[in-house]
Structure formats: C-alpha cells, structure tokens
Symmetry: none
Subunit: 131 residues, 4 copies
Amino acid sequence: MNDMTQFNDTAPIYLQIMDTIKRRLISEELKPGQQLPSVRQTAEDMRVNPNTVIRSYAELEREGIAEKRRGMGTFITENKAVIENVRNEVSHNLVSDFVSGMNECGFSAADIIALVQKHIENRTECKQENV
Amino acid sequence: MNDMTQFNDTAPIYLQIMDTIKRRLISEELKPGQQLPSVRQTAEDMRVNPNTVIRSYAELEREGIAEKRRGMGTFITENKAVIENVRNEVSHNLVSDFVSGMNECGFSAADIIALVQKHIENRTECKQENV
Amino acid sequence: MNDMTQFNDTAPIYLQIMDTIKRRLISEELKPGQQLPSVRQTAEDMRVNPNTVIRSYAELEREGIAEKRRGMGTFITENKAVIENVRNEVSHNLVSDFVSGMNECGFSAADIIALVQKHIENRTECKQENV
Amino acid sequence: MNDMTQFNDTAPIYLQIMDTIKRRLISEELKPGQQLPSVRQTAEDMRVNPNTVIRSYAELEREGIAEKRRGMGTFITENKAVIENVRNEVSHNLVSDFVSGMNECGFSAADIIALVQKHIENRTECKQENV
DNA sequence: GTGGTCTAGACCACA
DNA sequence: GTGGTCTAGACCACT
C-alpha cells in the first residue's frame, strides 16, 4: 500500500521530509513567505502518514523555518536570517557527511582537500570549454 | 510484503547493492579473496529478489571486483589493483556529489574549499582535546 | 505455449540470439546504424520472453555492437572496426568448431586441410561449369 | 510436455537423430555389431515420438548402417566399409557447412585455408606447451 | 511507442 | 548447497 521508496531507513522519515524542504528553500524552489502544500497533500504526495508530515511541519516551526497560521496553512518564514542559518546547517551536514565518507575510504585531510580542489578545477575547465 | 526500506528509488537497487559492497570493500569489512554471502542469503537479508542480487554480483564480476565460481559461491577478487580503483571510483563519486550539493546550496568553489578546511581543522582540534 | 524450436539447449538462448544478430551483421543483412526490431517484437517473433531479448541486447551493447537509445530503440553501432571484430570472432568460432568436429571424426591436421582444399576446388569447378 | 530442446528446426528431427548416431559411430562410442537402444528407450531419452525414431532406424538400415533383427532389436552393421563411408559423409558435411559459413562471412578460399592452417598450428603449439 | 527494473517462481548445471 | 537461465507479468522513465 505504502511505498515510501524515496526514503531510506537510516534516519526518521520526518527528518528526511524536513531536509527535503530545507533543500528546496536553499535552492530557492521555496521562497520566504511562500505557502507549503497542505499536510494532507504532502502526505499523499510522499505516500506517508499525515501524522509524520505534521511532525515535520511542527519541527520546522520550532526551528523558526515555518509558521503555522490557523485556518490558512503553513508558510515559510519571512525572516531571511533564519534561511541563512538553514543554508549553513545543510551545508555543514554536507561537509560533515562528505568528510566522514572520505575518511572511511582511507583519505587523509590533505587528500580530501586536494581531491576537492582538483575536482573543482576540472569542472571549471569543462565549463570554459563549453563557452 | 517487501520493505526494502534501506533503499531509495533514485537509483536501481542492483546498483545500490553494488555500492554497498564496494564501500564494505574499501572499509576492509570485506577483504580480497573473501566469500560474499550467497545470492539467496543476500536476497533474504536485503528483502530483495534473488535475481536482483544475481545482477549485482554479475556486474561486480564484470567490473573485476568479484569472481563467481559455479557451485562454490562468489568471492572478492584477490587483485588489489582493482580494489584501489574501487577506492578511487567511490571517492570520486563522493567528491562529485558533495560539490554538486554545495553548488545547489549556492556556495562558490572558494567557499566549498574553505568550509572543508574549516571542518577538518575543527575535527582535528576535537580529537586533540579528547587526547 | 512456447516452442522455441529454433533454439537448442546446448547454449543459453540469449547467446543464440546474439549469435543470430552477429551473423546477420556479417552477412550485411543488418547494416551499421540500422535499428534492430524492438525488444517486444523480437520476443514475439522468436517466441521468447522479452527479458531474454533485453539481456541479448544488453550484452550486444556491452560488446560495442549495439547501442540502446531510451525511448528510441536499439541500433547497430556505426563503428565499422567493431563489426570487423565480430567477423573475426564468428569466423574463429566456425574454424574452431569445425576442427574439433573433424578431430572427433578421427581426421589429422593434414587430412583436414586436404579435405577443405579439395572441397573448395570442387566448388570452384562447379561454378565454372555453371558459367 | 515435449521439449525436444536439443533439436533445432532447420532439419527434420529424424535426420538429426541419424546424425547423432552416425557421429557416435565415427567416434567409436558405438561399435560394429553393437545393439542400439530400443526405439521406445530412445524415444523416451530424446523426448521424441517413437515413430520418429522408427523412421531414423529405418533410414539407417536403408543406408546399410544398421540392421534390424526381428525380436532382437537394431544393431550397427559389422561391415567396416560402410562405417568408413559414414565417416566420409559426415566429414564432407562438416567441411561443406564450414566452407559455406565462412563464405557468408566474406572469406575467400585462400582466407579459409589460411585460417584453418593457422588454427591447427596454434592448437599444436598449445599441446606441446602442455607436454 | 521505446527500453529498464523488479518480482515471483520455475528448472538446470556444477560441486 | 552454489550460481545460471528463463518465463510471466508488473510498473517506471523517456520520446
């Protein structure tokens, strides 16, 4: 009945929903003041129990990212400082997970930085070639 | 019937199984010459169809990472050069995904490298404090 | 329900399908860049399961002989060097099977070559007579 | 019910059964004077209709290869000249099919002989290495 | 329409 | 036991 195949079991689903929303916010797919889809709609879209969505929205509100307005729905905050914090939090998680993964692969700090630099340089060259 | 909650739907399951094995190989949880769990066992453990596991093992063999021996089982190759390649492949994917993610968050190349460096320094300090 | 009388059980069907296509390619019944019949069509024609055809096409792609284009179909490669290799592979198999068969019949190397030469000479004479 | 998967549809089954017996005769798996398995046994073994086997045995008798003895069964002839003829017939078919196949692959008479010679030389070297 | 993935379950070959 | 092949049929992504 319920797939949830877009989620993994390494983290609670409500955290994964929060993360999805945070990333949409950072990438400006969601903008300050914008209304989030209804709990029911999201639950249906993500094939998840509405209670799970409610919990995600509540946590987002607790973190100051969303605001519930009775009878209106849930909205992204207008407070851009908060959004900036989200950006830092998400990026911190990205960095953290990345460095952990590289360490597990046996790479030293110096290796990691060198590989990132090399990768970015290659990407830049590719873009220039395309120009 | 079938959960598969450890998988997401962004990539084929057989690729995710391959990736899992590659990471176990890099972290030396799996060692050269070691026997992999049987197709049926893996299928049961991962709650996945045996055919899907067979495909993963077949692809691993094609990449030179595993060797199948009829009636004997499937084994990690003894060839350490291949394992080194796996390490490079996996780390390249980690770097690539990381940089893409950071770019989506709006970070420049310089930002990314600075954040990685800062993160590594902090980790190092933490470790020193623990000592 | 299913005949498959055009196949024997000494080799997997997917290999026999591959071989059929390779021979058609060599005899120029199939030409570089040409579209192969769809998986479903071939499966129906050969009275075989689509998965078996998919496997054949996948292997042909892996050998560089075919190229799959999502939603478009499967095509013979334009690369003529690859086709030349196919020609060599198929002819090598023909020679190998032939010599094995003759050995089983108790013919020596010298016998085999003599018989081939004699056969070719006779054929040539036949053709000349027909002219 | 009936597989017959060891046969293909390019030639009548009774001819294929005859060919199988001829090859066994040449390779001395069957010897002059030896009794062939009963029609019923062969039909069961090959998963073929008994009438098909009867036809094969009748044709073998017509060619002088087998002899039916009422109430006794079917036997390979004692006449070694006949066996020699079988050897020539089978080898002729092998040569003929081989040369046709090579021609379809686009090889000239000279190519064919050269490839056979090369293949035999390589095989000989392999054997010598093993010694 | 194309090919891609997966499941369920069958039967086979090898050891 | 092991892996190998095949079928029947489902659902998905791309064009």
